[in-house]
Symmetry: C2
Subunit: 202 residues, 2 copies
């Protein structure tokens, strides 16, 4: 599915890597389902991006596990960790395959979609333009949850991802993934495009 | 992995089934990771229970899809939905395999576990005894989030599951899955055992 890239060794803790992999796989499922149910190609593309990130993390995890093993007891219990890593990768592969259904234009039947659109919570991908007032503000400062009923669940800057971003993160020019009510997300999207000067649409 | 059981046709909407499958797969990942990182067999057992539920749902989904298809256009787009269902099942299989690592006593190496235990959020399985003050109260009434900083993420009564339970649900005698701080979950566990008369430990 994804191209094979050379992954360089990065000294990052096994724990950090696993947690990141778990967060990414959960986000991928969320996005893949929303992509399928709303036939949303943008969300499907983000799933494929995350799949690349996951492939890199699996390599890095395995390198760090190899370096951590000093004797056969280590090797035995670290093999369990490697297995958890590879199973997490299978989860992300399945999510990427769901996204693939959307990108290959295999339509989702109306019996699923029509009813689903009544649901309250939605997911969107929003590109923040450089003339938007959002650019350069922090997650906390923007206070989307209180202002419009939306939450930023991930930020992507090129190939760099921040999943469940901290409140101090300064928002970038590029891509936000957000969850919220349909009207809240519409307000966020207009603000991100620079069409409005505040979240209320003024 | 799981025994094959005869599944009877249930007229439930395809949308409802898919959403339930998505929620279950996400819960399974969450529980499986916690089980692995804390070497918690109880959580691993719940993952295996959920896997059974998922297997049943896949059957029901496919039966309802077959009945919904009236012509070849229907069949084409419903095949996409069936594929999403089967991929969701793969996700749950991977989570069950992670739980299997725990149940088969393949230890998780301390380099993962030690550091992880510092994390703030934990997951536990709590059996509610019939003399606990929790039995018969509603999720809302108990207000765990405000009282002790814990959330009930699922309720199981025998083979019947409620994922993300509504606030009006009357809490059962049997099994709760909860997420929260270590101290909050300790208070909840003592209350569920009937050791305390309120959540403050009194």
């Amino acid at each position: 599915m994804s191209e094979v890239e050379r992954v360089e060794y990065t000294p990052i803790s096994v724990r950090e890597t696993l947690i990141m992999m778990k967060d990414i796989s959960e986000l991928m499922i969320d996005l893949a389902y929303s992509a399928a149910l709303f036939n949303n190609r943008e969300l499907a593309e983000e799933v494929i991006e995350l799949e690349r990130k996951m492939d890199t993390l699996v390599y890095i995890l395995n390198m760090n596990l190899m370096l951590a093993a000093r004797d056969k007891d280590d090797a035995e219990s670290l093999a369990g960790v490697a297995k958890v890593g590879s199973l997490t990768n299978s989860i992300s592969d399945a999510a990427a395959d769901i996204a693939g259904i959307v990108l290959n234009d295999i339509g989702i039947h109306p019996i699923v979609r029509e009813v689903f659109q009544r649901t309250e919570e939605h997911l969107v991908r929003v590109k923040v333009s450089d003339d938007s007032f959002i650019t350069g503000r922090t997650v906390d400062d923007l206070d989307l949850a209180a202002e419009v009923g939306a939450d930023i669940i991930a930020i992507r800057r090129g190939r760099h991802w921040m999943i469940k971003p901290e409140k101090e993160i300064v928002l970038p020019e590029d891509v936000l993934l957000a969850r919220g009510t349909a009207s809240g997300l519409r307000k966020l999207a207009r603000a991100a495009k620079g069409e409005t000067k505040d979240l209320d649409g003024g």
